[in-house]
């Protein structure tokens, strides 16, 4: 039941993100550099999350647990990399903005950088480690 609830919640969040992204694209008249960078990242995150949800749904249908011991460790390790990425992106995003554009970022953009960078690091490491396996 708990596993099913998690999958349903994941589907709900994915639909909500896709809907928000669709609304944003419809309302926005011109496409800026910020959109060109962020929209593909968000799209990748949604696609990767959908794949993970699909994989978990397959396990539920077969009557298997959603994640085995190996996947749990993979998830923890991916979370560890995302943690490091989140800390560095919180500092690095503003430093990059100062070096490249000579201006400070708004607080909201720092938040966006942390969410996107750590999200993408988590997803890439999760998919990579689940395919290649972990050594220790």
């Amino acid at each position: 039941m708990k596993d099913k609830l998690g999958v349903i919640l994941g589907i709900g969040v994915s639909i909500l993100v896709i809907f928000t992204l669709f609304l944003y694209l419809v309302v926005k008249n011109s496409v800026e550099l910020f959109d060109i960078i962020t929209i593909p990242i968000v799209a990748f995150l949604v696609l990767a999350a959908s794949y993970v949800i699909y994989d978990r749904m397959k396990n539920i249908k077969k009557g298997l647990p959603v994640a085995d011991e190996r996947l749990k460790i993979v998830s923890y390790k991916a979370g560890y990399y995302a943690f490091i990425a989140a800390i560095w992106s919180a500092i690095g995003s503003n430093m990059a903005s100062i070096f490249l554009y000579d201006q400070d970022l708004r607080g909201g953009l720092v938040v966006a950088a942390v969410v996107l960078v750590s999200g993408i690091v988590f997803m890439i490491s999760y998919l990579y480690l689940s395919m290649k396996g972990i050594r220790d």
């Binding site: 923890y76 979370g79 490091i84 909201g108």
Partner: protein
């Protein structure tokens, strides 16, 4: 014999520690320049509390590490390693929820990047410490 708190710094964490200490010092030293609104004042007070709390925990961990070194214990055992990964993973998830709350405040009150970044970093590290201590005391559970 296991370390009481079970904390071990890994090589990847050294820059993070330097970053954490420097950002804490930076936040405290720039406090006067950052105060523009009453909202920011309350956030800075909150940050100050987290900083002091982190420094206390940091002191305890260093004390604990020194005890391990004196006893010539191994660098990191399997359980400690797993707990470190698990705690960081939980801390990242906690921060993701916190970031959503910060983003709402950032859009309403136009919070500066220094406060946003500082709040994220300090909350991540503090929650990580709490999770490490919690898993060490309560056991690592189903890792």
């Amino acid at each position: 014999m296991k370390s009481k708190l079970g904390w071990k710094w890994t090589k990847e964490e050294y820059p993070m520690i330097i970053l954490w200490i420097s950002s804490t010092i930076f936040l405290i030293s720039n406090k006067l320049n950052l105060v523009k609104k009453s909202t920011e004042l309350s956030i800075i007070s909150f940050l100050g509390c987290i900083s002091i709390f982190s420094i206390v925990i940091f002191y305890l961990l260093i004390k604990d590490l020194n005890k391990d070194t004196k006893k010539k214990l191994p660098e990191e055992d399997e359980r400690t390693k797993k707990i470190n990964y698990k705690a960081k993973n939980y801390s990242w998830h906690t921060t993701y929820i916190l970031v959503l709350i910060i983003s709402v405040f950032a859009s309403i009150y136009d919070i500066s990047h220094i406060i946003t970044a500082g709040l994220i970093i300090l909350s991540m590290i503090t929650s990580q410490f709490i999770f490490v201590i919690y898993f060490n005391i309560k056991g690592d559970g189903k890792i």
